[in-house]
Symmetry: C2
Subunit: 166 residues, 2 copies
Amino acid sequence: MKLEEAKEEFIQAWGALGSSWGINRTMSSIHALLMANNEPLSTEDIMAALQISRGNANMNTRALIEWGLVKKHRIAGDRKEFFVAGKDVWEMARQIAKERRKRELNPVIESLENLKDIEENSEEAESFKKRINDLHDFTVEISGLVDKFTRNDRNWFYRSLLKLLG
Amino acid sequence: MKLEEAKEEFIQAWGALGSSWGINRTMSSIHALLMANNEPLSTEDIMAALQISRGNANMNTRALIEWGLVKKHRIAGDRKEFFVAGKDVWEMARQIAKERRKRELNPVIESLENLKDIEENSEEAESFKKRINDLHDFTVEISGLVDKFTRNDRNWFYRSLLKLLG
DNA sequence: TTTATCTTTCACTATTTATTGAAAGTTTAA
DNA sequence: TTAAACTTTCAATAAATAGTGAAAGATAAA
């Protein structure tokens, strides 16, 4: 397989993966494009490579920066901004986990906490309360686990998991 | 807070969570509705509660059954099908993890394996190969962890997790 | 069988989400 | 300052996704 061909397939696959996890296709494609290329790319490079508009390229590089997956890169003597993806896969995973915890897990926990005080005591109400409680405990635990994962260095977490699951 | 009010909020929150994880809103709403109700509900009940069409209700209950999150339930003397959600949160999480591993992780691993044989040896090609390799190793490891998680019984995993977190 | 009850399918429509591109905004060098 | 080089915004539009409902397909009691 040729390198360019492989890059294209990778961009394709990564884009598809993103969209089945609720991340928009362009955002994951840009991420893949930057991962596939060592040198920093400009907005124009991205527009050309993925055949997308300036606005789209801008919005999504910005989103990737917010997610901590991509960094701006200045090249001396050039006024344009360039972009590079982080090189470490575990660091990337940590960044994604951290971001999703903040955006999705935390709101759910909050929401479940609000549902805890139901003034009824019928059998039905008790059973509902129990489920909400279980769900709450579960999400709190997962959230804690993700927190540990995002805070500690990769080796610590990895060793623990191996111990746990090996 | 009143029970009915709480149920509605829960359905709302669960639906929103689903859609930020690439699962359609109706599917997660039906799941939430069934979780919130102890008794089995019929398609008609679901249609009425969520104000959706028969086709939609049917498609999404079917999807939930495929995912292993909901079971059919026959009530003696009634020809209608009824549906119930599983009651155990950990079992639910296992089922979701299992399903997503199959649908999303496995295809990515396969795709990354295909990208491994690049005929070029330039510095650029080598660097790309390394990244693909790292990504491959990472996904294989995660996939293994998920597999362990979905295979073992809850108490075992739960105890280990507590040990890890504590 | 026949018929009533219930389930599934799918072409069409509605809704949501992503993308464009041109205009407004910003920065920097002269 | 001014103006060129570049970035950002956002209303309009396109594309993707989800939902509808009526018709066709099952199933089972009579």
